[in-house]
């Protein structure tokens, strides 16, 4: 019996060390499909994008001519519409990112209760997340319709005059913000709720004993404990806010005029509607750089986070 045990452990040791040798090879082999897909769908297109951005290249007229950085110079120094779209994108981000955080935190606090029946609350948080962005845009467009919309009906109910939500530039901008905040806050709430549930109850009990009010408990315990989750959620939301496209596309299509046109929408129009691939590529490359900077901030944060854990 003793002999068979030694034989087994011997065999185990032999097999494992042999495995260790081939492990690297297998690891690389298992990563290959992922790497190939990434090369084809992300890396190659980005190289193509950067090259095209240096060319004058329109599908509406023949010719593919190298023009150096002219596309970039035009975008940065002459194209007012580009700057207008950039400004819109920035304002959307500045309004909707904190907006989604506040609403999301509120929802998370409301949802963090010992409910007997859990599914209505859970689904209430999941449904906005699962809904396609354009559908949220369409539904909110319906909410904000002048005659048949529920928002103007509510306005009238409390005695306020109905508003031209979609045709007034400022109100349209506001309406789009409301839709974005509604759509993005529930995902925020899910992440923050997971964070809330990791805070030990004993902290609150101790604070209770010390006579701290609910508000003090929130400021002194909840917020500091949630801070890592909040920071990650904020950076993440900012990166997605830079790419805002679907909701304004469905609600206003960038209008009235260009009042709600974002960078992504302008790039889409330049490339697909005007078929100016060279200039569209330059704009998309600018967007890529902006996004890459935001992402590197995010990566540094998550890495520090995991390091701490």
């Amino acid at each position: 019996m003793g002999a068979s045990v030694t034989a087994t452990t011997g065999a185990k040791r032999y097999k494992l060390s042999k495995l260790e040798k081939s492990e690297r090879l297998l690891g690389i082999a298992l990563l290959t499909p992922a790497a190939l897909l990434l090369l084809a769908v992300v890396v190659y297109p980005i190289v193509e994008l950067l090259i095209n951005s240096l060319y004058s290249y329109r599908l509406t007229r023949p010719g593919y001519r190298f023009i150096g950085l002219e596309n970039y110079a035009y975008a940065l120094f002459e194209d007012d519409r580009f700057w207008h779209a950039t400004l819109n994108t920035v304002i959307f981000a500045v309004v909707t990112v904190p907006g989604a955080l506040v609403v999301g935190l509120g929802l998370a606090l409301l949802a963090n209760q010992p409910f007997k029946v859990k599914w209505p609350v859970r689904l209430g948080l999941l449904l906005p997340w699962a809904l396609p962005l354009v559908f949220a845009g369409l539904i909110f467009r319906w909410f904000f319709e002048y005659r048949s919309g529920i928002v103007n009906a509510a306005f009238e109910f409390v005695g306020l005059p109905p508003q031209n939500w979609i045709t007034d530039p400022n109100l349209a901008f506001f309406a789009v913000c409301v839709a974005i905040v509604w759509k993005s806050s529930s995902f925020m709430a899910l992440i923050l709720l997971a964070g809330l549930q990791t805070i030990p109850k004993s902290l609150y009990e101790a604070a209770e004993v010390d006579g701290a009010s609910k508000f003090q408990q929130f400021v002194e315990i909840t917020l500091p404990m949630l801070k890592p989750a909040i920071v990650v959620a904020l950076i993440f939301r900012t990166i997605t806010a830079i790419q805002t496209f679907d909701i304004p596309y469905a609600m206003t299509n960038g209008g009235p005029g260009n009042a709600t046109e974002t960078m992504a929408m302008y790039i889409h129009k330049t490339t697909i509607d005007f078929l100016d691939l060279g200039y569209g590529s330059a704009l998309a490359a600018i967007m890529f750089v902006v996004s890459a900077i935001a992402t590197s901030v995010y990566l540094r944060h998550t890495r520090r986070d995991t390091g701490r854990n």
Partner: protein, 276 residues
């Protein structure tokens, strides 16, 4: 006793606010879809449909190619999910179990891809698909969608794989299984919940995607649901009766899916915590 009752009431109220916030828009569009065109044009508006009718649904199914849009969505979402899960499962396993060089770089790269601006990919992908003659075909969407969900799926599955004791695999290998055999017979069954969770996330991502579908697949016959319904709108007027019914038809499948698997979806979202 009374204080307890009051506490229960506030708890109920808190839950009701969250639920109404989430359900109301979908519910409102459902009410809208049951109203007749005359009721929709009436002023002031009605809340609950006075004379509920299914005529909008008949119009959606008869006059509009909604079943075709749905079929396109199902094909694209399912196939891209399969591809994504296959590729991500292998990658996740390699990251968790095997000592691969540059493990942290791989992880960072995955996070970077999950943040990637789709609009930057859209321009060159449009050009590439045009050259390949793939515009308005399924593969034009399947491959990009598989890659888009790859980061979140890899991270979710990696976090599930991590909890499977390595000893189980070693035992299987001692019993004569190859490494891949151990993966298939031991790890996969145990990892099934993780794989499934990742698959739901990938499916929802693909089902919801709009920008690439609009760009690469805009011909009527190849439109997915989000593109098909959004482009119902004419130049000036929104045909709300049809749009509302179409929205309900498109929302129901995804609602059923997340309602059945809600706990998994939540655990996947918070474990992967990267894509929304």
């Amino acid at each position: 006793m009374i204080a307890n009752l009051g506490k229960r009431k506030t708890t109920m109220l808190a839950g009701a606010i969250v639920a109404i916030n989430g359900f109301f828009p979908a519910l409102w569009i459902f009410f809208t879809s049951l109203k007749t065109e005359t009721e929709l044009l009436r002023y002031p508006i009605t809340i609950v449909p006075e004379d509920p009718t299914l005529q909008n649904y008949t119009r959606v199914f008869v006059d509009q190619p909604i079943l075709l849009f749905m079929w396109n969505s199902v094909v694209v979402a399912s196939l891209s999910t399969l591809l994504c899960i296959f590729v991500s499962a292998l990658a996740a396993y390699a990251i968790v179990r095997l000592r691969i060089p540059g493990r942290n770089i791989v992880l960072s790269l995955l996070l970077a891809v999950s943040m990637f601006p789709l609009i930057s990919l859209m321009v060159p992908l449009f050009q590439t698909m045009r050259t390949l003659g793939w515009l308005n075909t399924y593969p034009a969407l399947i491959f990009p969608y598989a890659v888009l969900s790859m980061p979140v799926c890899t991270l979710v599955m990696a976090s599930f794989f991590q909890d499977i004791p390595a000893d189980l695999e070693n035992a299987a290998m001692i019993d004569g299984c190859s490494r891949l055999g151990a993966l298939w017979h031991v790890v996969v069954p145990l990892a099934a919940p993780g794989v499934f969770t990742a698959a739901i996330l990938a499916f929802v991502n693909a089902w919801d995607e709009f920008l690439l579908a609009l760009t690469l697949s805009s011909r009527v016959a190849s439109r997915t649901l989000p593109v098909g319904i959004t482009l119902y709108q004419g130049e000036f007027a929104f045909p709300w009766p049809i749009i509302s019914a179409a929205l309900v038809v498109a929302i129901v499948p995804i609602c059923v899916l997340i309602a059945i698997f809600q706990e998994r979806v939540v655990s996947g979202l918070t474990a992967g915590g990267v894509k929304g």
